[in-house]
């Protein structure tokens, strides 16, 4: 997995709460058997005026000029500023894949849905929870200042504004460690293969019905 240590980038404001995974990447694009190529269809139904289809050249489609990512000043954004319960809905990892493919590296919101939050870390994308007031302030500053950038430091667990104001955030030690070092989760777990085997052996004795493969 790609490591994440520090990042500085342009902020795009997505000013609505409960942004669900169907909105992030609509289902017709989940038919792909790859992990890449979802960027052009990120927020497809908000971004374009027509109905998107898989395997289509999105650069030829009519765009919705009101949508934030279609505004010139946000086109190269890599930090997404969002509202509460971002990423609610399905478990589709296509949602972080699409955000990543578009170029986002950081998402900041007052709260995230659990599965989405978890999926981000598996893909080198950093979801950051900041208090509602701070998020409000960042929304104001982003909208008022074209080219507004934030600097995120995962080692120090801080988000810093252009004026030098700094906010700290919380993140699990394990997730932080994996992300900082770009570790492969599976490799880390397999270091405990013996423990897993021991557990399994014990369960085979005490709960044999769990190992019945049907008939």
């Amino acid at each position: 997995m790609r490591a994440f240590t520090q990042h500085q980038g342009i902020v795009a404001p997505m000013d609505r709460s409960n942004v669900d995974t169907d909105m992030i990447i609509p289902k017709q694009f989940l038919k792909s058997i790859k992990r890449t190529g979802f960027g052009p269809n990120l927020f497809d139904e908000l971004r374009y005026l027509d109905e998107g289809k898989p395997d289509q050249d999105s650069s030829q489609r009519p765009i919705n000029p009101d949508f934030v990512l279609n505004q010139d000043r946000y086109r190269n954004a890599s930090v997404l500023l969002a509202r509460s319960n971002f990423g609610c809905g399905s478990s589709r990892e296509h949602a972080p894949w699409a955000l990543d493919d578009f170029g986002f590296r950081v998402i900041i919101a007052p709260s995230f849905a659990d599965i989405f939050y978890n999926n981000c870390f598996k893909n080198g994308l950093l979801p950051i929870v900041l208090p509602e007031e701070v998020v409000d302030q960042l929304f104001c500053e982003t909208e008022e200042n074209e080219g507004y950038q934030l600097t995120v430091d995962l080692e120090a667990k801080t988000v810093t504004t252009p004026s030098g104001e700094s906010f700290s955030f919380e993140v699990d030690d394990f997730r932080r460690h994996c992300l900082l070092n770009g570790l492969d989760d599976i490799g880390v777990t397999l270091e405990d293969a013996d423990l897993i085997r021991d557990y399994e052996e014990k369960r085979r004795q005490t709960a044999p019905w769990l190992f019945n493969s049907g008939n």
Binding site: R16, S17, N18, D20, D22, M23, P26, K27, Q28, L30, K31, S32, I33, K34, R35, E45, E51, P54, D55, R83, S84, N85, C88, G89, S90, S91, R92, E93, S111, A113, D114, I115, N118, N119, K122, N123, D172, D173, F174, R175, H177, D184, D185, I186, T189, L190, D192, A193, L195, I196, Y199, E200, A207, P208, W209, L210, N212, S213, G214, N215
Partner: protein
């Protein structure tokens, strides 16, 4: 020592290793796989040269993409080439790794969350995962069931473990008895309406109380299914006689002495009397009305006797903005009565409500009636081939067809409209599925979540109506 909650017990029984940083390795007894969230996981295994840890823990079936007509043609019946590739890829992966799959033409094929319990592949006390957020369904059996992403699917395939942090405990207690015509779906919609779509985030929810104890397994599955719509990855109901009776005799269920031993263990799967929950929410079951969602989030829901809210009366600016946006998308007016919402289509199906009891409830309402002429379509999509066969044995298919509903083959269908079944732009649909997000059932489509009985009542009247008015 204080007592343990059901979640605490399940957690402790599956704990392989507690790490110092708060994360833990949890052993997974069963993984269900489907075509949408597994291809990249299998590809990951291949790229890393890894093998599945325990092949017999996995069961697969295609469900999201399969057509609900022309199924005798098998894979060739899938017109969309991209969908076809995905289903073929699942077949190929399962064949390559030797994983049991109920393929498209197998009568046991169906929606993953329907076939697990149906086969007895979902057993009380198991830890279960699937690359699908509605995996919480299996919690109805006193299971620890998590929806996971594709990287985690690969992780479980490779290690039989999931890296998890323990969640907090929430008890949702539904007291009293439900009124006639009020179903598990109405209960869970009322719960989501009360605690909100993020109310359960970070919690494992146990559903309890007299009303839950009185429900069948299928109704309990409906409730646990929608835990994720309240933000909780895990939903559960304690094991009781209803659970054990349901499991008995199913293909994967233990038999003989092992069965007795299993039952002894299963009977311990409930929260201790002195267990402490981090949060308790109580509802009066007898006050729950048949529910209808009016907006674009499952928390935007009200009783059928209610009305669409007026954003002018909402004080919180973010919520107000949300209501305004939802009403615009849904094409509804503030204060409009729910019973005045005219419908274009009706969908009875999905992992929330496509089991035999759901179909019986719907059939009882449409029997001897006709689908309203104002509707473009009303369809019934059973959850599995076996549910379909059972319904046909009971003659439910004839009741539906006679009333003018379409009788389809099993799959996810219009729940997420990945196959050919979808809403047109601006169309209103009474749907027994679980998500009313924008575009969920088709680009510009407008979903209203209801129970199967309420969907059936809507089908024969063309608008929402309190199903109790149609019951004798």
């Amino acid at each position: 020592m204080v007592g343990k909650t059901l979640y605490d017990k399940l957690w402790d029984d599956h704990l392989v290793k507690q790490r110092d940083d708060g994360s833990a390795l949890i052993y997974i007894d069963r993984q269900l796989l489907h075509e949408v969230t597994s291809p990249q996981a299998f590809e990951g295994l291949r790229l890393a040269g890894r093998k599945p840890w325990r092949i017999d823990a996995n069961i697969a079936t295609p469900d999201h993409n399969v057509p609900t007509t022309d199924r005798d043609k098998g894979i060739d019946g899938i017109v969309d080439p991209v969908s076809r590739t995905q289903v073929e890829t699942l077949d190929k992966n399962c064949d390559e790794f030797g994983i049991l799959e109920f393929k498209i033409k197998d009568q046991r094929q169906g929606i993953v969350h329907v076939i697990g319990p149906e086969q007895g592949a979902t057993l009380p006390g198991m830890s279960i995962v699937c690359g699908d957020s509605h995996t919480s369904t299996h919690g109805a059996f006193g299971c620890l069931a998590h929806g996971i992403g594709t990287s985690e699917v690969e992780h479980v395939l490779a290690t039989q473990c999931l890296v998890q942090k323990k969640m907090k405990n929430m008890l949702v207690k539904v007291n009293g008895k439900l009124g006639p015509g009020v179903t598990g779906k109405d209960v869970v919609l009322a719960i989501i309406g009360k605690i909100g779509t993020a109310g359960g985030t970070g919690y494992a929810i146990e559903f309890g109380g007299e009303a839950i104890r009185g429900l069948s397994m299928e109704a309990r599955m409906t409730i646990c299914n929608m835990s994720i719509e309240a933000g909780a990855r895990v939903g559960m109901v304690a094991v009781d006689d209803t659970t054990i009776d349901y499991v008995k005799g199913r293909p994967f269920a233990p038999k003989g002495e092992t069965w007795d031993k299993a039952v002894d263990y299963w009977r311990t799967l409930h929260s201790d009397d002195d267990a402490v929950f981090d949060k308790v929410v109580e509802l009066d079951g007898s006050a729950i009305m048949p529910q209808v969602s009016w907006g674009t989030s499952p928390e935007m829901v009200t009783g059928v006797d209610g009305a669409v809210p007026d954003p002018a009366k909402e004080e919180d600016p973010i919520k107000r903005e949300g209501i305004v946006r939802a009403l615009k998308y849904m094409g509804l007016q503030p204060n409009q009565k729910i019973t005045d919402i005219q419908l274009d289509r009706v969908f009875i199906g999905s992992c929330t409500n496509s089991r035999i009891e759901d179909l019986r409830e719907a059939a009882a309402v449409v029997k001897g009636r006709k689908v309203a002429s104002s509707l473009k379509q009303a369809m019934v999509v059973p959850g599995s081939g076996l549910v379909k066969a059972q319904a046909e044995k009971e003659g439910l298919d004839k009741i539906f067809i006679e009333a003018g509903l379409e009788w389809r083959d099993p799959g996810c269908s219009m729940c997420l409209a990945m196959n050919a079944d979808k809403l047109g732009q601006g169309e209103h649909c009474a749907s027994t599925s679980n998500r009313n997000f924008e575009g969920r059932q088709g680009f510009g489509g407008r979903t209203h979540l209801v129970s199967p009985a309420m969907a059936a009542a809507a089908a024969v009247t063309g608008h929402f109506v309190d199903v109790r008015e149609l019951m004798h």
